[in-house]
Structures are given as C-alpha cells and as structure tokens.
Assembly symmetry: C2
DNA sequence: GGATCAATTGGACAGTGTCCAGTATAACTG
DNA sequence: CAGTTATACTGGACACTGTCCAATTGATCC
C-alpha cells in the first residue's frame, strides 16, 4: 500500500484519485504511529504515493490538515441520544467528556496544537459543544453559566489529555484517574453553585 | 542594541561576552513581541549580534532554551512565606496559582510547548510545586491526595493560560474569570472530598 | 609563558512548508 | 458528441529551519 516501489508512476496531470478524506485519514495514520514530529507533508505524500504539492489540492495548509484530523478524531465520540440526555443530563455530560478524553488520549500529540489553535471549531466539535450545553441546561445550570462551565470542562479535558502521553513521568491510567476526579469535582460544584 | 549595523564585527574565536542568562533573556524578549513562531535560533542570534551557532555554546537545544525561558517566567511568581502559608493555607494555594496564571498569561505561546513537554521541571517550577504541596497538606488534604490535587491545579492553570491569547474568540478577562471560578470549584471539592 | 579549555565564526547538511508554471484528466456545456 | 473550463497532479524551485564540524581566537590555570 505504501508504494515504496515505483517511485514515479505518474506524470504531471495524471490523477491519483486522492481525496480530502483520504488525505486526512492518511495523516491520522501517520500521526498515530509516528507522532506529530513524524507528520510531514513530504512524508505524508510519500505514504500516499504522491508528490508533496498534491496535498495542497485538498488541504490549504498543514495547520488546516491537523485541524481536520482533530475533528475527525472527535467524530468518534458517541453522543448520547435525546432521551438519555433528558433522563440523566449529568451522566450525559460526564459521558461526553470521558468519551472525548479517551478518544483524545490516542492523539495526545495533537493537544498542544489544539490549544495553540484555541480550541477546535470543526463540525464534530461544535456538535459536542451543543449537546453538552443542552445537557448542562437540563441539569439545572443557568444558560449564562453553562457556557462558562463548558469552557472549564473543555480546558480540563484537553489539558489532561495533553499531559497523558505514554513516555511521561506519570502513567496514563493515573492521569486518567486524576481527570475523572477533577471532572467530578467540577460537575459537583457547577450544579450546586447558584 | 540590535546591532543592525556592522553585520560582521567579529571573526572566529573572538568573544561576544554572551551568557546563558543573556540568551534566555533575549529569547524571552523575542518571544514576547514576536510570538513562538517568531522565535528562531537565527533570529535570536541576530538580535544578539552573534552567529547562530554561538547559541549552542550556552544552550543545548531549542527545546532546552524554551524550557529555560519557561522557568525564567515562573521565577517571577512571588511565593507566599511560611507564616502566611501557615495562617491561611488555602489562600496561599490560591495565591500561588493565580500568580502563576497571570505570569503565564504574558507567554501564552509557551503553553503548548509546556504541555508537549509534560510540565516544567525547572528549579522555579519545582519550588512552586513544593510550596503548594505543603500548603495543601496544611489545608487538610491527605498527602496521597495532595499530589493528585496539585496535578489537577497545574493542568487547569496551564490549560486556561493556553486558551487565553488575545487573538482568540473569548476575551482574556473572561477567560480569567472562568479560571478563577474553576479554581474555586476545585479547591472547594478538594478539601471537602474525604 | 605555555598548555588547556571554552566561546565564537564560516560554512555546510538535511530537512521543512509552500509557491509557480506547466500538463493531463475529469467535468461541464452546447 | 465536441469544445471549453475547471481541477488534480508533477517538476522544480525558494526561503527558510535546527544543528553539526572544523578552524580560530580569547581566557584560564600552572
């Protein structure tokens, strides 16, 4: 699949059947087993059997690429349906957050980029935010406070995910435990703080 | 001071009177008014009127350089003295955290790097951690829980600082308000959670 | 005063992201 | 179905980046 053979099988003008989704998927794959430092436009192009410039037909920028990967990752978070949000909104919030956390754990490399970009603005991220806001409202958090609470939850989730990479001094499961605890603390105060 | 004139005033071997501290200070200055993207070894060397390689006599790496800048920044946090820690430990914790937050606010660019490095390990950072741990213990947090609480506080502080850059969608003072609130929530739960 | 160590420079190496000008293919139009 | 237009892709380059090596000079120590 890597087309290490046949270095130049295509002349200029000939299509490779590339696709924005394919580029994002490949980037994500490279990212998982080579880390952020290992994600380079040229390397990615090599993996796709394509000249480096070809990527710029589908992605404006490396930054945008990483943004897309990030939202792609976020798309794997299973959002609780209306009824469960209605029945136990606090559990729904907790579920969204922990699910996001676990998904982000697989791409801790992206968290610094996430923060540098001041949060994800992709479709999936937006949807997660909306559902969470709704659940918070149902849980009894005032509309004005809900947005702030959401911000706190996001910062905490992303922050902990950023701290969790395997090579670090603190083992990931310990980080996860700390995260869950912090989440409990925050939610407890958020609903009682009025 | 920038020596834009006299491009090559020195031959090989001649000293420039450079210093590790001077390099760090210059890096910090560049960082404040050009951002992380504007901090390049070559540019920094130019500001110091020195060849790029000269920096490597005082700093092993760009990564190490940024680490040093970070700890230099943290050195500006005023640590509460023993007596105030003894008298009102919770206020001491809050003071350390908010002071750190405010200092980090001036270098939000560094926060992604901070997270990518999984925390600061410099002298100043260590000292802040020790004092905070002591204050937490005095506030009634068990030794085992104190470390976890400290971790939560750090992640929150750094995370919010990372989200605060001026260009962002949310104004900095609003971010700061959210941070203070989150801090209150966390501390309240941390001391009651036993 | 002579030897040793550290700071500095010139020059280079291997990368990086991204742009410009062509070329061939696909899609659209009449 | 023919002709035009938009788009995907390549070759090749540009302007960078961090960092290493060898040579040279200044400071330091005995």
């Amino acid at each position: 699949m890597y087309s290490l053979s046949m270095p130049t099988a295509r002349g200029p003008g000939q299509r490779a059947g590339l696709d924005r989704a394919a580029v994002v998927a490949a980037a994500r794959s490279v990212l998982t087993d080579a880390g952020y430092a290992g994600l380079t436009m040229r390397g990615l192009a090599r993996h796709l059997g394509v000249a480096p410039n070809a990527l710029y037909s589908h992605v404006g920028d490396k930054t945008e690429l990483v943004d897309l990967v990030l939202d792609d990752v976020l798309g794997e978070v299973t959002v609780p349906d209306e009824v469960s949000v209605h029945r136990d909104p606090l559990a729904a919030v907790r579920s969204i957050m922990t699910a996001s956390f676990d998904v982000l754990l697989e791409h801790t490399d992206l968290m610094p980029h996430f923060l540098a970009r001041q949060g994800a603005r992709g479709d999936h991220a937006v949807r997660l935010g909306e559902v969470t806001l709704e659940a918070l409202a149902r849980a009894g958090v005032e509309a004005a406070d809900a947005e702030e609470t959401l911000r706190v939850l996001i910062v905490t989730t992303v922050g902990f995910a950023a701290f969790a990479p395997a090579g670090g001094p603190v083992p990931p499961d310990e980080i996860r435990a700390s995260y869950l605890r912090a989440l409990d603390w925050l939610l407890a105060s958020a609903v009682n703080d009025r």
